[in-house]
């Protein structure tokens, strides 16, 4: 919880309790938006249902605009916001593994728990696979370590790499997102599929 836990305004336990409630709320929203259905999730790869793309890109541009405006008003120092460090090789390989798992399993990690919570057996099997993967990686970590840590890039931003301001890149991303939404809605009409 943002600055509250590190500065010990709230205790670690309160932090966990808040995380618990936020987690339940998040799961509830996911479930009620239909994200516990693997057909809906996999739809993005076949074009008949692109709600995943729309939801996550809307979330991303909303958060981006929020952060940029808060930074503009001096409420947030973007330098202090945690950015996952980039290890290029493992990011690419991890992305491919995650994507393949997403297509085959029809869930991403969060939604699989959501599906399991409402009793979907495929989601439970997916969670089983998830744990096999996690433990498999952990126990064979020395084999992967070199590849895992390769091509460390620090915490780069696309806007920095392109030499433009964060705001300008934000505008381009918004336009790109809207274009994607239009293409997505076109795809939904082109490859329709009945919900069942």
């Amino acid at each position: 919880m943002g600055p509250l836990a590190p500065y010990e305004i709230i205790s670690e336990n309160t932090n966990f309790l808040l995380a618990f409630f936020i987690g339940i709320a998040f799961g509830w929203v996911l479930e009620s938006s239909g994200f516990s259905s693997s057909r809906k999730l996999a739809g993005i790869f076949y074009g008949y249902d692109t709600v995943v793309l729309k939801v996550f890109f809307t979330g991303a541009i909303t958060a981006m605009l929020g952060l940029l405006f808060m930074s503009l008003f001096g409420w947030v120092d973007l330098d202090l916001v945690y950015v996952n460090p980039t290890y290029l090789t493992s990011a690419i390989i991890g992305g491919v593994v995650m994507g393949a798992g997403f297509i085959m399993g029809g869930f991403c990690p969060g939604t699989s728990f959501c599906g399991a919570a409402i009793g979907k057996i495929d989601a439970m099997v997916f969670i089983g696979g998830l744990f096999i993967g996690v433990y498999g990686f952990a126990f064979t970590y020395p084999w992967w370590e070199k590849m895992y840590m390769a091509k460390y890039l620090g915490e780069p931003k696309v806007s920095e790499k392109l030499g433009m301001s964060d705001g300008l890149f934000g505008l381009f991303l918004i336009i790109a997102a809207l274009c994607m939404f239009i293409v997505a809605e076109w795809a939904e009409k082109k490859w329709p599929r009945e919900e069942y």
């Binding site: 605009l65 001096g74 120092d77 973007l78 809207l178």
Partner: protein, 207 residues
């Protein structure tokens, strides 16, 4: 109205506004000279050698010792498990992920504390956290931890406790040899020095 049009109606004007304002309106995190002076004056960067010795004996995985002396000096002697980042190449890109991180407690050391302190000041100025300085440097480490002096009989019990701890730490870390405290001084169990460093957890995200 279609939701996509409604969304576009909101986000495109906001995007244009944010693209139009000059970037970097926010004061970025850098310590001012005043703040740095205050931190340095309070000595928050120092870690007592007893704490480091205890962490080494306990094999605490969060401790990372960083030798800021030259590679030659590092090859001649280094503390157990220490890595070498010569002060002159402190700002090199390959070390950024070592110095700017939240998982480890980095402890700089040099022969005295001057070079280690310089390394700390530079990294602190860059806004890096979790970097510390071994108080007294290697000289104090050798003279007091690896070969501690027997306190005189009139000293308080704490001194003997400290001596016993250092003696056993030295034995574990490969310096000196175990000799029981001489005389009929009250025997006190080695007390664990308080560990003050906090390890922060990384925030993690994902869907």
């Amino acid at each position: 109205m279609k939701p996509i049009k409604l969304l576009a109606l909101f986000v495109i004007p906001l995007g244009i506004i944010i693209a139009a304002v000059p970037p970097d309106r926010v004061k970025h995190f850098r310590l001012t000279a005043d703040e740095l002076l205050q931190e340095a004056g309070a000595g928050v960067q120092f870690v007592s050698p007893d704490v480091v010795a205890d962490m080494l004996v306990q094999k605490d995985p969060s401790l990372r010792l960083i030798d800021v002396r030259t590679p030659e000096e590092y090859d001649a002697y280094s503390m157990p498990g220490a890595i070498n980042i010569p002060l002159s190449s402190l700002l090199s890109d390959e070390y950024t992920d070592i110095l700017n991180q939240e998982a480890y407690m980095n402890v700089f050391y040099s022969n005295g504390s001057v070079y280690a302190n310089q390394a700390w000041m530079i990294t602190r100025q860059l806004g890096y956290e979790n970097n510390y300085v071994l108080e007294g440097g290697l000289n104090y480490w050798f003279g007091n931890i690896l070969s501690p002096e027997v306190p005189s009989q009139t000293n308080p019990n704490e001194e003997f406790a400290k001596y016993d701890f250092r003696k056993s730490a030295a034995a574990a870390l490969g310096g000196g040899s175990i000799v029981a405290t001489e005389g009929d001084a009250p025997s006190v169990k080695a007390v664990k020095p308080p560990v003050t460093a906090k390890s922060k957890k990384k925030p993690a995200g994902g869907c």
